[in-house]
Amino acid sequence: TQLSEKELEKLAEEFKLTLITNDVALEVAEKLGDILKEKLAGMKFKRFTDPTQQIREVMSNVIEEILPEENNLEKMFMEIEEKKSREPYVVLFVGPNGGGKTTTVVKFAKLLKDRGYSSIIAASDTFRAGAIEQLKKLAEQVNVRVVSQKYGADPAAVAMDAVMSAKANMIPVVLIDTAGRTEVDINLLEEMKKIKKVVKPDKVIFVGDALMGNVVVEQARRFNEYVGLDYIILSKFDADARGGAALSISYVIGKPLLLVGVGQRLEDIKPFNKKLFREILLK
């Protein structure tokens, strides 16, 4: 038998509501609901058997197709290895206010260090109160050097300073921490664009907050529009975040989720696990 239009509509609604409750943005949940309807509409189910399990599998597949691929961290390590004897591999970190950039940059430096790669961090947040001191204190915990100038200095200049220093000292990686910015502040979006233009990073990573709802769609779109994102890192997963933000961002700009932050200690960062996400999103 096939599902009736009424049954399809009911299942799509249930699916949408589950996704929305798990923080998937409304426009993404609606699109996924439509995709589910299309997939289920064509299917034939055995008479007199409960189709629930089969339907759950289709729902899981809809999510699976949107979620980004895994293992990008390994790809990145290979690129760093390939480049290390020639010149520094530069990674630019950007994102909204309070999303976890500074903490994530130092977590990333620790990840690199554990893999045998030293790095230098550029204190390119020259605006926010206490930003330079916060970064220095965090970096001290893992013995990573920070290159900084004064508050009010040009973020791109600080970044180039760090790149020069890495070149002079044969340090393979430069990580650039930048100031938080909103997706509606044109001046700051332009500033971010200029930093990328001057520094020419190998990768641009967006660090966002997994607790955010519909705003992540506009954030991802606008940041990607201005500076072109390579990877996404979502922090605060330990705060009982349901992961919907990951699905929304992936659907809207299709960039891979590299890592997730799972706490405030510098070891609290993990690779993105697709299976775990699928399970959480369908609860």
Binding site: A129, G130, Q134, D238, A239, D240
Partner: protein, 292 residues
């Protein structure tokens, strides 16, 4: 006014020729979509929808209102029930000691909002002091000091003391002896799964008994807002809310869930990163953003 704004937001309803079952369903459907896009919780959206439907069917239309105006009035009532209809007023006492403790999830804007509120109060004639009770975040007190550096507002910080209760007790003592009446306490970011930190906040509230505990909420928060607010409220009863980052494209619907579980009202909003980017909460502006 709030009612004019609702009328504009629901213009589709106003332009339809009658209110039959189909129009009512479309009206509710449109409201639901607007609220969900604004991050209002699914639970709250369903509750509001049920109330609108029930009252639309059961209630006798008040004299002088059309069926359409009645629907608008119901929506108005449902929203006002939660957020109130009057703009927030500055109601802190000036002449006696008043201790206000800021709490909230990591990165939501507590430190910045504490500085903003301190400066705002000083400009309105209050004698203000700020205590840094965040012993976790690197350079937390430096951040506060830098934010407040041109305001003349004193910052009391730990200097070697690990216990937040001890820090706050000493800070309150010192400020009181200096004639400072209004004391703001910035605390460390925490969330409901961090039991030790939630316990610390509970102990701090019980030991200090602040006059007000203000929950700082990021306007971008999604469906988890209610659960987090509830956990904070259980540990330290929330008296008011400071909604930050209203200058983003976020609509702040998560705050409604926080209001629903704490019965607290939004007192202030943060409209940017600078120390003067703070405003008293105005429900008209909030509902306008909520209904798109």
């Amino acid at each position: 006014s709030l009612s004019e704004l609702l009328r504009k937001a629901v213009s589709k309803l106003m332009s339809s020729t009658s209110v039959d079952e189909k129009t009512l369903n479309e009206f509710i459907r449109d409201i639901q979509r607007s609220l969900l896009i604004s991050d209002v919780s699914v639970e709250l959206v369903q509750k509001i929808s049920e109330n609108i439907r029930k009252r639309a069917v059961q209630e006798k239309i008040p004299t002088g209102l059309s069926k359409k105006e009645h629907l608008l009035k119901i929506l108005y009532d449902e929203l006002v029930k939660l957020i109130g209809e009057e703009p927030a007023r500055l109601d802190l006492p000036k002449d006696r000691r008043y201790v206000l403790m800021m709490v909230g999830i990591q990165g939501f804007g507590k430190t910045t909002s504490t500085a903003k509120l301190a400066y705002y109060l000083k400009k309105h004639g209050y004698k203000v002091g700020v205590i840094c009770a965040d012993t976790y975040r690197p350079a937390a007190s430096i951040q506060l000091e830098q934010l407040l550096k041109d305001t003349g507002i004193p910052v009391f910080k730990a200097d070697g003391i690990e216990d937040v209760v001890e820090i706050v007790k000493r800070g309150v003592e010192k400020f009181t002896s200096e004639g400072i009446k209004t004391i703001l306490i910035d605390t460390a970011g925490r969330h409901k799964s961090q039991e030790t930190l939630m316990e610390e906040m509970k102990k701090l509230q019980e030991a200090i008994k602040p006059d007000e505990v203000m929950l700082v909420i990021d306007a971008g928060i999604g469906q988890q807002a209610g659960a987090h607010a509830e956990a904070f409220h259980k540990a330290a009863p929330i008296g008011s809310i400071f909604l930050t980052k209203v200058d983003t494209s976020a609509k702040g619907g998560g705050a409604l869930s926080a209001i629903a579980v704490t019965r607290a009202r939004i007192k202030f909003i943060g409209t940017g990163e600078k120390i003067d980017e703070i405003e008293l909460f105005d429900p008209v502006g909030y509902v306008g953003r909520l209904l798109g």
